[in-house]
């Protein structure tokens, strides 16, 4: 059982959610960064309690290895998360240039989407 990991991930998810629900671009961005990390850690806990196990490199280890699959999955997820975060950064920048605001609430303040333009 990995109670501390579970709690840590809970805290991360909670904080990330709170940040994402804010209006400021920066906080939203931070929120997503934390959220990605939280999800990665969650996947990491799939490999079980690492106590008494060794890094998944055959040869060095003198005992059982931890499950390497979650680590590989996380690596993939981290890189994907990086790509998406980078895109998000550029998007926020672009929105800032177009709308001259860094506040999501202000962005949609007075729009009527039933009529385009």
């Amino acid at each position: 059982m990995q109670i501390e990991s579970a709690l840590l991930i809970g805290v991360l998810f909670g904080c990330a959610t709170y940040l994402i629900l804010q209006n400021s671009f920066v906080k939203i961005l931070f929120g997503f960064v934390v959220l990605t990390n939280a999800a990665n850690l969650l996947v990491l806990t799939m490999s079980g309690n690492p106590g008494g196990k060794y890094a998944p490199i055959v040869g060095d280890a003198a005992g059982p290895l931890v499950d390497p699959l979650p680590q590989a999955l996380i690596l993939t997820a981290i890189v994907i998360g990086f790509g998406v975060t980078a895109y998000l950064v550029l998007l926020l920048y672009r929105i800032f240039l177009d709308q001259n605001t860094t506040n999501a609430a202000e962005l949609y303040e007075d729009q009527d989407t039933s009529e385009h333009t």
């Binding site: 109670i3 501390e4 890094a55 998944p56 055959v58 790509g83 895109y87 009527d112 039933s114």
Partner: protein
């Protein structure tokens, strides 16, 4: 293929296929395309007569082709008395209407090709509906007639009332059509077949599925009521009069609106034993009958009068099946035929008058007998038929109706009495507006409006109404002529043997009532003339179309409000909804599922399992503190520093989890992300921070955010603990560890998984990276408008692509 099949194809499918050809031909032929189209109803009539002769009436014939056998839907046609009768009416009136339309639609109109295309399409659809043996096929054609009607009503689409009328008609008949579909499916579910011939042969399993079939019957009847404009769904029919008059004569009086009548007749043998059949049909239909007649008297528009009288007559025809004895009805064909004669004729007369004078308000017309004597004669006969004067089919119809209704009064109790009252009152009103129709058009002095615009119609255009009026007169005087055809067309289960008709029955109760009705009706007419028909229009309370349209408008407003209420216009409010939904669904279930488990756990939980790892706990606490710090602090710089701290501590956490590759990747990614965020924040102005303070979320929203965040945190923690409580056996992990050296030639298991065992994931992931980069370039290299457009400022929709047209570039 045997001859019957070919004949059937000629009658039904040929016009269907011809419709687009006619539309195309209209481009080159112009007005003359009408004569080309005229060939199709003629062919249909001829072929149907031939078919009727070949199959040996009375009897029935089923012709079938497969279509969608896996759903039980086939091109299956049933030829029997009922379907042939209706098919002949459809194609027969079609001949007259096509002929009439060729003169009616002169060079003032455009798009003749389209008009005849719709009309031919409609005729084919009608023939398909009445001849269909498969109930689903019937429904398919049924909806096609609605579509054709929609297109025809909207033919003069530059006028708003055409568009509105067309929409009303399609929505209403479409909706009731869907109810009919549901009813049909329900019937199918208890019988397993859509085949009418089979159903009529074996009957419905009324005993086992009574309630189910009652609902099915009601749904089907609603379909019929919608199509036949029964109260309170009647209002689309008068508005459908926005179509050119030949259309009104054809669709909205003679044929399409009779589909409801047809459907009632078709299912009569199936449902007549149901105890709701008679009350529902009679109550709705006879009310409609009276209501329509009163509104007809109340209207001033030529076509509106006829439309409301059609509504009334349709009520009569449907109600007739409602009161019919269980063994079958007798004179339904007579009533239908009678209505076709006079209503088709009157519509054509009205069309000629409108065409000749350009006036549609009956109060502005008068004295036309001198200018159009032939037409006056025709109209006189038709109006007399409508009023039920002796010597016309109208008289026969009314007499038999009265006779039967008096009989029904004995059988059906209060319902019969109500029906009788309705019929008698309606007959009275009908006499009044029949008088009015004829008198206001042809008698009296010529009005200014008539003098101003009159131009004489060609004689040929008066031929179709003349034929109809002549038929009404001929058969009215020699009703014996009808005996043989009616005998041939008798359908088992629907009809009783018809006693021969005769003009004179002697002085009977019906005759006395008839005379009284005519006298009183005349009285009403005189009364109306005295007051000069002063009432302005139908009062608003009775104008259901008005309510309908206003309802639609309100409905549109409501949807706008609703969309806004659902936050679709405020995208920042989306996320809470989504998170809340997830929490309530997943978390709610979890609470339910875990409640029993928790109690169990409390008793036999090994608490030492919870013992946290000291170093990991310490790092976890640090990460948590850092991230919570991000929440609490205001300045971006400090937030960013704390975020990086958290990131690097996460790296360490990975190390504690024995994941060196992850740790390395995480630390490098952290650096690159930091670069990106730094560049971004460097661009954001200081004032933005101020804006954040201004746009602080409301306290309520803040509380909601806290609740949601806590919820998500707890949910995820629970998920991990719950799922990790009894994890899987570590089969894959062991496999990878054991085989990485031997099979993948590498000792770093994570790397061998990445490039070999699950190399495909990696391929996908670098694709993601590549796309992210392309997207980033796309974001920064703004695809802009041309210089000229740039100067003009915002125009049209942004980003549609069409703004970048070449023409605009030049």
């Amino acid at each position: 293929m045997d001859t019957n099949r070919i004949l059937l194809l000629l009658a039904v499918v040929l016009p269907l296929l011809a419709a687009p050809v006619i539309a195309l031909a209209g481009r080159s032929l112009g007005r003359r395309v009408g004569w080309f189209a005229f060939a199709f109803p003629v062919v249909s009539v001829a072929v149907l007569l031939l078919l009727a002769a070949r199959m040996g009436l009375p009897g029935s014939l089923v012709i079938e082709w497969p279509w969608i056998p896996s759903l039980g839907i086939n091109f299956s046609f049933l030829l029997d008395g009922l379907s042939l009768f209706f098919a002949l009416i459809v194609s027969g009136v079609g001949v007259l209407v096509f002929f009439y339309a060729n003169f009616y639609l002169d060079d003032h109109h455009e798009h003749h090709g389209r008009f005849y295309c719709y009309l031919t399409l409609f005729m084919a659809a009608m023939l398909g509906t009445v001849l269909a043996n498969n109930l689903m096929l019937l429904f398919v054609f049924w909806e096609l007639t609605g579509l054709a009607s929609f297109l025809l009503i909207g033919f003069l689409h530059h006028e708003e009332k055409s568009r509105v009328g067309a929409r009303q008609a399609l929505l209403l008949t479409g909706f009731t059509g869907l109810l009919l579909l549901a009813g049909v499916i329900m019937v199918w579910q208890v019988t397993g077949t859509y085949d009418l011939a089979t159903l009529l042969g074996s009957g419905l399993p009324l005993a086992e599925h009574k309630d189910w079939l009652t609902v099915a019957m009601l749904l089907m009847l609603l379909g019929a009521f919608g199509k036949s404009a029964q109260f309170p769904l009647h209002f689309w029919l008068p508005n459908a009069m926005a179509a050119p008059t030949p259309v009104s004569a054809y669709l909205h009086s003679a044929t399409m609106v009779k589909l409801g009548v047809f459907l009632c007749a078709r299912v009569f043998p199936l449902f007549v034993e149901n105890e709701l059949w008679a009350p529902v049909l009679a109550a709705v239909a006879f009310s409609t009958m009276l209501f329509g007649a009163v509104l007809a008297l109340w209207s001033h528009d030529l076509k509106a009068i006829l439309a409301y009288s059609t509504v009334s007559q349709l009520g009569y025809l449907i109600g007739y099946y409602g009161l019919g004895p269980l063994q079958g009805v007798e004179y339904d064909f007579l009533h239908i035929l009678n209505h076709v004669f006079y209503k088709g004729c009157l519509f054509m007369v009205a069309g000629i008058v409108i065409h000749a004078t350009g006036v549609q308000d009956i109060r502005q017309l008068g004295g036309l007998r001198r200018r159009m004597p032939w037409l006056a004669g025709i109209c006189l006969v038709a109006a007399a038929t409508m009023a039920g004067f002796p010597g016309t089919t109208g008289f026969l119809s009314k007499e038999t109706m009265l006779k039967e209704i008096f009989e029904a009064m004995n059988g059906h109790g209060a319902l019969g009495a109500y029906a009788t009252a309705c019929v008698v009152l309606t007959s009275l009103v009908k006499v009044a507006f029949s008088f009015r129709f004829f008198a206001n058009l042809f008698l009296g002095d010529e009005t200014e409006a008539v003098k101003a615009h009159f131009h004489a119609p060609p004689l040929a255009v008066q031929l179709p109404p003349l034929l109809l009026a002549g038929a009404a007169l001929l058969l009215g005087v020699w009703p014996g002529l009808l005996a043989a055809p009616f005998h041939w067309l008798t359908v088992e289960g629907l009809h009783q043997p018809t006693p021969p008709l005769s003009l004179w029955h002697g002085v009977t109760r019906e005759l006395l009532v008839s005379v009284a009705v005519v006298l009183l009706g005349f009285g009403v007419f005189i009364l109306g003339q005295r007051t000069a028909w002063r009432w302005a229009a139908i009062p608003r309370a009775l104008r259901f179309d008005d309510f309908f349209e206003r309802g639609l408008e309100l409905f549109s407003k409501f949807t706008k409000w609703l969309t806004r209420f659902l936050r679709a216009d405020k995208p920042v409010d989306y996320l809470p909804v989504i998170i809340a939904f997830m929490l309530s669904v997943v978390g709610g279930f979890m609470v339910l599922a875990l409640r029993p488990v928790l109690g169990e756990l409390a008793t036999r939980w090994e608490w030492n399992m919870l013992a946290p790892h000291p170093l990991r706990s310490f790092v976890a606490a640090l990460i948590s503190l850092a991230v919570i710090g991000v929440l609490l602090l205001r300045r971006w710089t400090t937030q960013l520093i704390l975020l990086s701290v958290a990131g690097f501590l996460t790296t360490f956490y990975y190390v504690l989890y024995r994941a060196p590759d992850l740790a390395l990747t995480q630390i490098l990614i952290e650096v690159v992300t930091l670069f990106l965020i730094l560049i971004l924040l460097g661009r954001f102005p200081r004032s933005a921070e101020l804006g954040e303070i201004v746009h602080r979320p409301s306290p309520l929203r803040k509380k909601l955010n806290v609740v949601l965040s806590l919820g998500v945190g707890v949910l995820m923690t629970t998920f991990i603990l719950w799922f990790n409580a009894a994890p899987h056996e570590n089969r894959l992990g062991r496999f990878f560890a054991e085989n990485t050296v031997e099979l993948a030639q590498g000792s770093n298991t994570v790397n061998t998984i990445l490039v070999d065992f699950r190399g495909f994931d990696t391929l996908g992931e670098i694709t993601v990276l590549l796309i992210a980069m392309l997207g980033g370039i796309g974001l920064l290299m703004r695809y802009k408008r041309t210089a000229a457009e740039y100067r003009e400022g915002p125009l049209g929709q942004p980003g549609m692509g069409i703004q970048h047209s070449e023409e605009k570039l030049k």
